[in-house]
Symmetry: C2
Subunit: 105 residues, 2 copies
């Protein structure tokens, strides 16, 4: 296996996650969160879909989905929706920061 191919295999999942964009039905299936609840969270500004035009179907990326899963966890632990959203926001910022340090050339 050539160097190029090998590299491609290793970086594949990251490329994939970058491109990954899914609809609300899939997010619901993946996360177990009802579509109605996802729309409600979005309505409240807790999450932000990538939807280009209003009326078109909502699109979510990996970060969105990750966020929803984390919020769901916090809510299950007893936090309110707003508190959960706040905590998750900070946590994701921290992870982001750490990742930046790790990947910085």
């Amino acid at each position: 296996m050539s160097k190029k191919e090998s590299n491609k295999d290793l970086s594949f999942d990251f490329d994939f996650l970058d491109k990954l964009v899914v609809g609300i039905g899939e997010v619901s299936q993946i996360t177990g969160i009802p579509t109605r609840q996802i729309r409600y969270w979005e309505e409240k500004g807790i999450i932000t879909s990538l939807t280009e035009e209003e009326g078109k179907n909502r699109r979510y990326n990996y970060e969105n989905i990750k966020k929803m899963l984390l919020i769901k966890e916090m809510i299950d632990e007893g936090y309110t929706l707003d508190a959960s959203a706040e905590k998750v926001k900070k946590r994701m910022e921290m992870i982001e920061e750490t990742l930046n340090k790790l990947t910085k050339k």
Copy 2:
């Protein structure tokens, strides 16, 4: 961060990929393969969607998507569809095998 949480963070993407199931529109967006072509490949038996009942929307998992991307690559390299499918099938079986060896307790 507790041991449990830390473990969860590390294994998260794998769990995620396991649960990941997307519709044909998303696959098309992700891979750049037109929906019409995806249906054609499926019709020919090259790929197999997870669709439960006929008439319902097609669902694809990570393995399906990976396969389509690989086939697309081979076709771009000049192989016929059938040859591409065959090569990809073998390649994926090899990867599967290797993974099994790696993860075997």
